[in-house]
């Protein structure tokens, strides 16, 4: 199914999420567990992890600075070894290629490993529309597919669901007796999915890392569904963003340590697949065809923006999500599109247009927990600040894209609020640049405070204050500012010193 983009409704959606105690419980449990696992493993040798993170950054900086070169090298190697490369400018182009390929090969069923890029381009919807049934084989993705939902986390698609939710879902959708035991739920899914692997004409995966030097794609997993997806079907299609490239095989050492650590606190995942080329006539195993779809979909524009380019370093580990106090509270669906959490707040406005996700960069206290957690030390707070600047003061030219369309419902209220805010900050700046004005403003505010009294209950005062007092006690201006009391303070402390 094609999910609507809901990022414009973020304010409403996050409020709904907060009012869902069920979601709260699920999010707290899951994020706590994964943060603890990562922190525990890191604590074992924090100096080593720091070195790895610095090295990973170096590799990514080099790669991103020479992306065209490495992409060309990668593509040449893939083709040299019998694979096909398709360069897709956007989602539509990618989907057209894939559905055309499926039609040509008589594919009726495609099995899918978890791929955020697949979500991004909406490949499932495109396949279904062209008569191919897509089946998710990652357990979390299988669950959300059954539920008709988007994944709500980069690694744990069904993190917003409790075991009870899943038990109920399986009982309802798979027409089986309800069981709450994890082993039973898992083996039921496994049994059902096994049958699909065997009869699928196409296997679709993402790409964790694409090695330019050898034309190898690398995929990591804990479930085994990637091994099956990339072995049994005749055709394997791998979807990758242009930023998934690493230059050499040896660069993988760093990333294959950092990704499992950051994603799930593991030293290594259960399986790591290195897939290069296609089988030759002599070999029996593996697909007959290998297609890599290299996708832009807005990434070249990100690359062109020096302030935001670093967001392409992301290896999709999800550590920032788990560490984020905002994500922990509202979950992934509130963000309204494919990528939630801190990295989602940076990528979404860039990929779908700032006008379609204007609230996301502001939904942060800039606490920096994401930056601390990130294996690539991506400075997400700095990028959020830059996006805020772009959104409030107009794009600096770079970053304005064909995707900057007007939102479906032009919000007059939002425009008025923006105008009022700009005026408010102009006034604020005028006051704050002049000590006399600042002091006068303080005096006026105190008169206002005295006249209207202490306000706690909602509905008594002006809108911004009301939004604070709905949930907290309102702090008051002190009777006299520090500045007004300085002469007396100064005298007193001098006297005490001289005693």
């Amino acid at each position: 199914m094609l999910h609507a983009i809901e990022s414009e409704n973020f304010v409403e959606n996050q409020r709904g999420a907060l009012e869902n105690p069920h979601l709260q419980r699920a999010m707290t449990k899951a994020t706590e567990k994964f943060v603890a696992a990562r922190v525990k493993l890191e604590a074992g040798d924090s100096a080593q992890w720091n070195r790895l993170r610095n090295r990973a950054r170096e590799i990514k900086e080099l790669t991103i600075a020479n992306l065209d070169h490495y992409l060309d090298e990668f593509a040449a190697n893939v083709e040299r070894l019998g694979g096909h490369v398709f360069w897709a400018a956007d989602a539509e182009a990618a989907n057209r290629y894939i559905t055309h390929l499926a039609r040509q090969r008589g594919v009726r069923l495609a099995v899918k490993a978890k791929s955020m890029m697949g979500e991004e381009i909406g490949v499932n919807h495109a396949l279904a529309a062209s008569g191919v049934e897509p089946v998710e084989t990652d357990l979390g993705e299988y669950i959300v597919q059954l539920a008709g939902e988007r994944p709500s986390h980069i690694n744990m698609p069904a993190v917003h669901k409790t075991r009870g939710d899943i038990a109920e879902l399986f009982a309802e959708k798979l027409h089986v007796g309800r069981t709450d035991k994890v082993e039973d739920l898992t083996s039921l899914a496994r049994r059902l999915l096994r049958e699909r692997f065997a009869s699928a004409g196409m296997g679709i995966t993402g790409v964790n890392f694409a090695v330019a030097e050898t034309g190898t794609i690398v995929l990591i997993e804990n479930e085994g569904n990637i091994r099956l997806t990339t072995s049994l079907p005749r055709v394997h299609v791998a979807l990758m963003g242009i930023e998934k490239i690493v230059p050499r095989l040896e660069d993988l050492e760093v990333f294959l340590k950092l990704l499992p650590l950051s994603a799930s606190g593991q030293k290594l995942t259960a399986a790591v697949s290195f897939l290069t080329g296609v089988k030759d006539a002599a070999s029996e195993e593996g697909p007959e065809e290998f297609h890599v779809v290299i996708i832009d979909n807005g990434r070249v524009e990100i690359l062109a923006n020096p302030h935001l380019r670093e967001s392409l370093f992301c290896i999709r580990c999800g550590a920032c999500l788990n560490a984020c106090p905002v994500y922990q509270k509202i979950g992934g669906h509130a963000y309204g599109w494919v990528y939630p959490g801190p990295i989602g707040a940076v990528l979404t406005p860039q990929l779908i247009g700032r006008k379609r996700a204007p609230d996301l960069p502001f939904a942060s206290t800039l606490c920096g927990a994401c930056k601390d957690a990130c294996p690539l030390k991506i400075n997400i707070p700095e990028m959020l600040l830059h996006l805020r600047h772009e959104i409030k003061e107009g794009s600096d030219g770079v970053g304005a894209s064909r995707k900057e369309e007007r939102p479906r419902r032009t919000r007059l209220i939002r425009q008025l609020v923006n105008l009022a805010e700009r005026a408010a900050f102009k006034l604020w700046a005028a006051v704050m640049q002049d000590a006399g004005r600042y002091r006068r403003a303080g005096r006026i505010a105190r008169i206002v405070q005295r006249v209207f009294g202490q306000r706690n209950a909602a509905g008594d005062s002006t809108l911004p204050i009301k939004r604070w007092t709905r949930t907290r006690q309102l702090p008051q201006l002190a009777p006299g500012s520090f500045t007004s009391r300085w002469p007396e303070i100064s005298r007193r402390t001098k006297r005490e010193t001289n005693d």
Binding site: H389, F425, T471, A478, S481
Partner: protein
């Protein structure tokens, strides 16, 4: 040793007792404190909201105040981690397009210190030479810890207070949920995050929670008050300055 106090607009207008305690504390530790009443604000509210033009105007004004102060004072001391971060780390970026102001910002940055950082790292004092009673815990404000890398200085000072039991709360460095205008734009979310902090504080069984940022304290105290809690919130300066009678 002479320092100029940058009291911050929040403390100036809402929590002057924190400024007062800062002066008393520094004076007791042998530092002469001066104050320029022309100061206003570091400009962070505008900067955080994406209004860099206005942030630059106010920042430029504050930069001039600091330049003048540093002609007759050795350092500028700030009883706030977020304001100190704005000045030290972000002014050079904010004025990136103005070579002169950028140079000034870079020259001033090493002489600007958050209070606890100043006491421990510049004065070299880890004993606050004071006494209190009761159980106290500490909240790491985000900018102070993650941008200025200050987390042991306040703890050293708190632990040095005679008669006080210092306890660590769990998740001491997790955000309180204030985030400036975030608390007004996303009030329910801000409160939900604060509730986790309150839960950590209550689990610590401390009677007082101390922090180096009045914004965090305002957020935490606001929620504690509404719950009718007996836990007190205090700025580090207040906790260390007055001796309990």
């Amino acid at each position: 040793m002479r320092v100029s106090l940058f009291v911050t607009c929040l403390v100036d207008q809402m929590f002057p007792q924190v400024g007062e305690a800062t002066v008393e504390l520094l004076t007791r530790l042998g530092v002469e404190v001066t104050f320029n009443p022309e100061q206003t604000c570091c400009g962070q509210p505008a900067f955080n909201n994406g209004h860099r033009r206005e942030a630059r105007e106010v920042g430029a004004y504050t930069l001039r105040v600091f330049e003048r102060e540093l002609m007759s004072s050795d350092y500028i001391v700030v009883p706030s981690g977020s304001c100190a971060t704005m000045i030290k780390n972000l002014y050079p970026k904010l004025f990136g397009e103005d070579a002169v102001k950028e140079a000034t910002a870079k020259r001033i940055a090493p002489r600007v210190f958050e209070l606890s950082q100043f006491i421990v790292d510049v004065l070299g004092i880890e004993d606050a030479d004071t006494s209190r009673s009761g159980c106290v815990t500490y909240h790491d404000s985000c900018h102070l810890k993650r941008e200025l890398d200050v987390s042991s200085a306040p703890r050293k000072l708190l632990s040095s207070v005679r008669g006080v039991e210092f306890v660590e709360m769990d998740r001491a460095d997790v955000c309180c949920g204030f985030g400036g205008t975030f608390s007004v734009t996303f009030p329910e979310l801000s409160t939900a995050i604060a509730q986790e902090k309150i839960a950590s504080i209550e689990r610590s069984r401390a009677e007082t929670v101390v922090a180096c940022d009045s914004s965090c304290l305002m957020q935490i105290n606001g929620l504690l008050q509404q719950r009718g809690s007996n836990v007190r919130c205090m700025h580090l300066a207040e906790f260390l300055a007055a001796r309990e009678s």
